[in-house]
Symmetry: C2
Subunit: 494 residues, 2 copies
């Protein structure tokens, strides 16, 4: 294995990230094949003339991407293809989820890692009997054969109609709007990218943002204009400057999360919603409102969607059943102006003809039978407890000077450890203690945020959350003391 990587010691890209990206690229291209053993961190550090912690961090990121896996006493190996997902989920992890996260090579012997790494619903809250009852109702229907026959690109019409009527009742949809069923919000974003974005075009996105969006846009050759996120969402001054750009730098569209953004948890306040719309309208930039998390509000008053506030008709709203019910069933939708939805429908037809009809019919039944409402109530109760445990754990266990967002819903809290801590470098130590997370560098676009990390709390119990944050706080505090101790001599030189 030839691991002579090309590293730049200047240029602002951290060395661990360069090592991570170059190894990831070689694994993805097949240059490093499944089962190949990577050199020990000490060995590779020596080879490249780098600190061992740098290599450990790179390996941790590769492991977070499920490109390699560590095996106790044996080292790190390139994984077999087909095991990785954007959401950081592997087949092997299925054995012990949520309540029983899989034991990891890095954790203390006999202890399962408490992982804050994945933003997905809790498996132990799935209402299996209600799901079975919904399936049974669909299977008993007279028109079952129609569900199994080839369908329409717009979606299973009974579901499409119910969602559109609901959107009209909620004043989200006007007579000029239409609705397209997609395979979750991800496909809606993808179709919008295909229809509206050409290679070299600029798209304005939140920074940080979840990698699924980042990868999708760069995959179609888009350039990203990063709008920094604060606790209240987009930085409006930067947004205005970016959207006003001329020529090729002018964004073709703005993708914005109105509620409980992934990864920051931030929600746009009402005044900011109006401001975003006004800025976008003045600049003539269409708005994609990505609202996968909107229904997961645990406290506070719901805010009107951008789509509802927008009188110019320049907004398309994306929603999904994935976060509120079963993400293994891929059903979401795009609601927007007819002419756009019509183009998206053509792209959808070219992409995969139509969304799976069995799942559409089952989710419609789940919704219309009232079972979705019952499930939502349970999910909101559990979510409120888990969010409260997360915020409480952050307050109790994190070192002084730690800051974190205070979302009123969703699945994620964004936490920033005091400087000069680096969460990517801290991750190997945290996992050794039995707690995992995704470092901020995994989400940032243009603005490095080395002290940040994402805590995805929705699939952990309050007990796990408390214990996990206690462990994380201990690791962070130890790191702070170590850094302070290292700094001592220099300080003494003053």
């Amino acid at each position: 294995m030839d691991l002579r990587l090309k590293l730049k010691h200047e240029g602002g890209v951290p060395l661990y990230r360069q090592v991570y990206e170059q190894l990831a690229s070689r694994i993805r291209s097949g240059e490093l094949g499944p089962g190949e053993r990577l050199p020990a961190t000490r060995e590779l550090a020596g080879l490249l003339g780098l600190n061992r912690a740098t290599i450990s961090t790179a390996y941790e990121l590769l492991e977070a991407d499920h490109l390699i896996s560590g095996q106790v006493g044996r080292g790190s190996f390139v994984r077999a293809v087909g095991e990785a997902t954007e959401a950081g989920f592997t087949w092997e992890q299925r054995e012990g989820q949520d309540a029983r996260p899989a034991a990891r090579a890095g954790g203390p012997a006999g202890q399962a890692e408490i992982s804050f790494a994945v933003s997905r619903p809790s498996r132990d809250l799935f209402p299996l009997d209600d799901f079975r009852a919904s399936c049974a109702a669909v299977l008993a229907r007279q028109d079952l054969a129609d569900i199994l026959q080839l369908g329409c690109p717009g979606g299973y019409e009974p579901l499409r109609r119910v969602l559109l009527e609901q959107a009209r009742r909620e004043h989200l949809a006007s007579a000029a709007d239409d609705l397209l069923i997609t395979n979750g919000c991800q496909q809606a974003l993808d179709l919008i990218g295909r229809v509206l974005v050409r290679p070299g075009d600029t798209v304005a996105v939140e920074d940080p943002v979840y990698p699924g969006l980042h990868n999708l846009l760069t995959g179609i050759g888009a350039r990203l204009a990063a709008i920094p996120m604060g606790p209240d969402g987009l930085d409006l001054a930067v947004l205005e400057r970016v959207l006003r750009a001329a020529g090729g730098a002018k964004p073709r569209l703005l993708v914005v999360t109105s509620n409980f953004q992934n990864p920051t948890g931030a929600t746009l306040p009402l005044a900011a919603r109006r401001a975003v719309l006004e800025i976008a309208r003045t600049a003539g930039v269409p708005v994609v409102e990505n609202d996968a998390y909107g229904e997961l509000r645990y406290s506070g008053e719901p805010l009107p969607a951008l789509k509802q506030l927008d009188e110019s008709g320049g907004t398309v709203l994306l929603r999904s059943f994935s976060k509120i019910s079963f993400p293994g069933l891929r059903v979401g939708w795009a609601l927007g102006p007819k002419a756009l939805i019509d183009r998206l429908r053509q792209a959808k037809e070219a992409a995969d003809l139509h969304t799976d009809q069995l799942s559409q019919a089952v989710l419609l039944e789940f919704m219309e039978s009232g079972r979705l409402d019952s499930h939502r109530a349970r999910v909101l109760r559990a979510g409120a407890e888990r969010l409260a445990a997360t915020l409480e754990g952050c307050r109790r266990h994190m070192p002084a000077g730690t800051r974190f967002t205070h979302p009123e819903g969703g699945m994620n809290v964004w936490l920033r450890l005091p400087e000069p801590m680096n969460t990517a470098e801290l991750l190997p130590r945290a996992r050794k203690e039995g707690v995992g997370y995704l470092p901020g560098s995994y989400f940032t676009i243009a603005r490095p945020d080395p002290g940040a990390l994402r805590l995805s709390f929705a699939s952990l119990t309050p007990e796990q959350i408390g214990r996990g944050l206690e462990l994380l706080g201990r690791v962070a505090s130890a790191e702070e003391e170590r850094a302070a101790a290292e700094f001592e001599p220099a300080s003494a030189m003053v």
Copy 2:
């Protein structure tokens, strides 16, 4: 409504097609909105200075695309969005499928149209009880919650593994191959297009070919190099010339249907398979083997897949459950070299994270329980009868000089009426008599074939097929006599 179309009387594009395309484009762009009434054919013909039959044909094609619908005594109206599919299927048609095709405005009063227009399985053969039993088995499983949870981009691992093992047993897959689950063959083609084709690239395709592939490739900006189809598949001399082209004209890939091609029904003989592979290998062009219909062989010996014959590793094979079971469940797969599958998996993840897991689990159960085998046996028996009825009907009822393909499987027969008949112009008359089809012009790329039409027989009973071809034969013969009579005076002038 401003219908001043820009028509070119020279240039080889038939006028009906120009009218059709320009109206289709205005409907798709929203310029002509849902519910708008198109002028009567007589009126528009007068406005444009064209023959009324030309406008009727254009309207028929718009109706075949479900962009407009005719209402008895009222005229033709632009359809509401969300009603059209590539496969020529609308929601409204669901009421009476297969055994009871919907009555159409154009047909004789009280009689249902017999439609050969749609290439899809027969709804009346769906084994609903077996499907219910497969669902019940999945719903009873201990790992149901895993199926409902977020999955892997590669596919539901138990299904992926079974399909890959099966492919290995059948010597389709080598150790260097991998398999990706997709939303049917259409998504596999789309992902391949995204990964391998850039705007302006050339792709070699069969001519004629089904519009789903044509639209997908032109949608991503590809130029199509058309390889004429004969009764035995691709014209190998043209293929060789096209694949040897240099520069931008050199195809990035060749998409070829090995079995029962849509629309011609043609199957590549063994020698031609070897020749295609040799030509592609010499030219260095990867081969996409699109094999949605391969399992539907009613007679004759199965031939080895291109993928199996290809020792160079340059072929990717696409298959699907859609044609052999339930097209409303969108599950297919791509089998090919690991490095390519790896890139496709990344594109899949960006496109929609992963394929719906409920349907993957149900189809796996349907397969492993043996129910798919039973269903396949029934479908093959019915298909053999339907194909025989189609060939017999063509022999008995079509005018002398009519030629048609003699496939040993699949869902389609390609028929060519004697010159100078034009099946697009004939269609309004055929539908008036109660029989529908898609004219050859719907499928052709570079080589006009005005006398051709596609007969999709799989969803009609032998009785319907016999009656439909009797009607079609009568219309064609009448047209032939009319054309001969019109020709008389000129003939007398000699």
